[in-house]
Symmetry: C2
Subunit: 313 residues, 2 copies
């Protein structure tokens, strides 16, 4: 069963923010200094599942009537869905790539979800999910191309505005499929939205530039940002972002690693590669910063071995 829905709205984001405030404390908005600019970082890596995805998963599952939900995820949406399903008494089946970080697979299982693995280069993840649904039923909750998911992710923007006491002037955010970016755009209509994607995976940036969905090529480059490898954005995301976000910037693996190390040393936070992408763009001077800028630190589910190698340089 695929839900058909209306477009996400600012009112929907506000409603999501109220629902989420009742179950999750706000994540800290940390004062940071980059170069000579004092701005803020939103530590979504401190959510119970280590990523902002808990927001959209909660809001989406709050609207699912049946007991069974199915999701496709490289790991953070998976944990969000598993967490929300457990809390709402639902059963979750998650389609995950076999090469997902072990920590994400383990955490998703620990939250009680069933995992169906697929091979990232060979198999089409959406087809695997469709097969699961055909066999067992259940409602698909898309990781980013879903009205409720977008509204839920946007709740982070409402928290930011409340914590700052005003609208941020600019939000720098990593971008996979565009769920968080779209939600933030709706939550903070006065803020500029800067999207940051891994080099070679700028499907959302290209889509905004061209005004149409752009698909990843057959042989996209490797990236350490396992959470930011969408095959394409979705119409609902593009529609929200088209007139709200610039085509954005891309970051290299080295820039991402430098940002992980900076967050380790200066913020004492564990960030996974994708979770450090926005910070990477800021540290590399690729986005304009001012005192009203907020940088999204979106996830902290880092593989210990890979993190150790990053620290050792």
């Amino acid at each position: 069963m695929i839900r058909t829905e209306s477009l996400p709205t600012s009112e929907g984001v506000l409603a999501a923010a109220q629902s989420i405030a009742a179950i999750l404390p706000p994540t800290p908005l940390l004062p940071i200094e980059i170069g000579a600019v004092r701005c803020h970082a939103k530590a979504e890596s401190l959510q119970p599942i280590g990523a902002f995805k808990i927001r959209g998963a909660w809001w989406a599952l709050s609207h699912v009537e049946g007991k069974d939900v199915v999701a496709v995820s490289s790991g953070n949406h998976a944990q969000g869905i598993a967490w929300a399903a457990r809390k709402l008494g639902k059963r979750a089946v998650i389609v995950m790539p076999r090469d997902a970080p072990r920590v994400k697979l383990d955490n998703t299982r620990a939250l009680g979800a069933e995992i169906v693995l697929y091979d990232r280069p060979g198999e089409d993840r959406d087809e695997v999910a469709a097969r699961v649904i055909a066999q067992r039923g259940g409602t698909l909750v898309h990781a980013f191309g879903d009205t409720r998911v977008i509204e839920g992710q946007g709740s982070a923007g409402c928290e930011i505005a409340a914590q700052l006491g005003r609208s941020p002037s600019r939000i720098v955010t990593c971008c996979g499929g565009g769920g968080l970016a779209a939600g933030l755009a709706l939550a903070c209509p006065e803020a500029a939205i800067d999207i940051v994607e891994p080099e070679g995976w700028d499907m959302v940036g290209q889509a905004i530039a061209r005004g149409e969905i752009v698909h990843a090529g057959a042989d996209p480059p490797a990236t350490i940002c396992d959470a930011l490898q969408p095959t394409a954005t979705r119409p609902v995301n593009l529609q929200v972002l088209m007139n709200r976000a610039a085509p954005g910037v891309t970051v290299t693996d080295d820039e991402v690693r430098a940002a992980q190390l900076w967050a380790f040393a200066h913020l004492r936070l564990v960030l996974e590669p994708g979770g450090a992408a926005a910070l990477a763009a800021a540290l590399a001077g690729k986005v304009a910063l001012d005192e009203g800028t907020v940088i999204m630190l979106t996830g902290g589910n880092a593989d210990p071995d890979r993190f150790a190698r990053m620290l050792a340089g």
Copy 2:
């Protein structure tokens, strides 16, 4: 110049908490689950200097009249003093051990303090500080045996009570010289205070058990907890803790490393060894836990190389 002072009081802690609330946002009180028990962790590692020591340093320096301050510290009190001195327009000279983690030496310098190094096994740090003061003047702000420092550290307890909406039933805290433990005891008079020290460095626990100051032996064992190696507690700390804290428990290096890894994976926080000591005791089953328990995560200034080795096992 050594200040002579009255004993720290609960009223003093409250006043410190008000002063600190005006300059620092509260650190997050994170819901955590250990075994089957849901309790909370206070993430003082997210302070701007990466440790709770910013509290006592701020409150103490707010009461120093002259321009020059001198401190002795393995690194976190150093950063706290340097941070507060810069904010208050004072000059800080910090006596630090040559084997302090590089990150702590670098951060202290970056905050504008002057550092005087000493050799941890051979030289008496207090004598080095006395020499600095004899030569140049300045007010010594002791890292733990100081009324204002104790009151300042206690402000963390006021934040905890406000965040919980009630007094915690129990606070599990690492313990070096006993500044934080004494402050928390004054801040939360209804809470049990469990102190956790590194094996072989339980000078405060022994002092509580015997009712008198106990000095470290000539050849104390090695510990990875560089922040928790006091040569002895001070009368002011012992006086507060005598009737408020049990003799406490000790933790091994392996237990501390396990706690650092747990915080990495489950809380996405970087904790330095000493900052993970209380969590180590909780994970090792060495302290009783209930729903009102708060575990102090006191510092996150971890050396990247040592942290990488810990992650790699």
